[in-house]
């Protein structure tokens, strides 16, 4: 079995703020290089609630679907199916928890799983996604403190 990806890091702001930054103000920190359209003014949307769509949208209305919310427990937890660039059938699942950390900050734990369902590609996809997270998270840390 291919283990889930697990990443943990701390930010200075409290969990409510961290959750809001992640889910309501995604466009503020999500790097445009991690979008399909790569336009400087592209918006990233996480619709609140289970079943919410996750997608990018340019001001001209070009949209690309990235996934769907499967768990919504503000401010402590969000989980979603993630299929950016893949077939929906090849979606993996991400779970992010925002827990109280030291000095009124937040400990963020990410678990990214479902690699076995991808069969032979699972291990490679896990590796690629690990690299993707490493490039993505510093942008969130920069706004969350």
């Amino acid at each position: 079995m291919t283990d889930p990806l697990r990443i943990t890091f701390d930010v200075a702001c409290p969990p409510e703020r961290a959750f809001e930054l992640w889910t309501k103000q995604t466009s503020r920190w999500w790097p445009t290089s991690h979008t399909v359209s790569a336009r400087p003014d592209v918006g990233v949307v996480i619709e609140p609630g289970v079943g919410g769509r996750i997608y990018e949208r340019t001001p001209e209305g070009e949209e690309h679907d990235w996934g769907r919310v499967t768990g919504w427990n503000p401010p402590s937890r969000i989980s979603y199916l993630w299929h950016l660039r893949q077939d929906r059938a090849d979606a993996t699942e991400v779970e992010i928890t925002f827990a109280e950390g030291e000095r009124a900050g937040t400990r963020i734990s990410i678990e990214h799983r479902g690699w076995d369902a991808l069969g032979a590609r699972g291990a490679d996809q896990r590796e690629l996604n690990q690299r993707g997270w490493t490039r993505l998270l510093p942008h969130f840390q920069a706004v969350a403190g």
Partner: protein, 104 residues
């Protein structure tokens, strides 16, 4: 500025192209290896690489059936030289102005 087939500043203006250059910092890569790490398709990556090559920012070589891309250091020199040229002129103009402002 020496004339390239494509302007390196236009090449650098795209976020995906910048991401490709950042990936190549880690060493040479094939189109597939680059596309695997990006949210765009292989043909899109090929188009970006062609423009980066025309702008002199990357070069490629064949390894068997694969084509590998890497950063082209001389291409970055052209960018630096242009900036030095512009700021160099500005520094010169300031000195001229300062010299002419001295009380005689």
């Amino acid at each position: 500025m020496p004339r390239q087939a494509a302007n390196p500043f236009d090449a650098l203006a795209d976020a995906h192209r910048r991401a490709i250059l950042e990936l190549l910092q880690g060493g040479e890569r094939s189109v597939r290896e680059i596309a695997d790490e990006m949210p765009i398709t292989r043909p899109a990556v090929s188009r970006h690489l062609r423009l980066l090559k025309e702008a002199g920012l990357v070069t490629s070589s064949a390894e068997g059936t694969r084509r590998l891309y890497r950063l082209h250091d001389e291409g970055l020199d052209a960018v630096r030289d242009y900036l030095n040229e512009v700021w160099g002129d500005a520094a010169g103009r300031f000195r001229l102005l300062a010299d002419n402002s001295e009380p005689s």
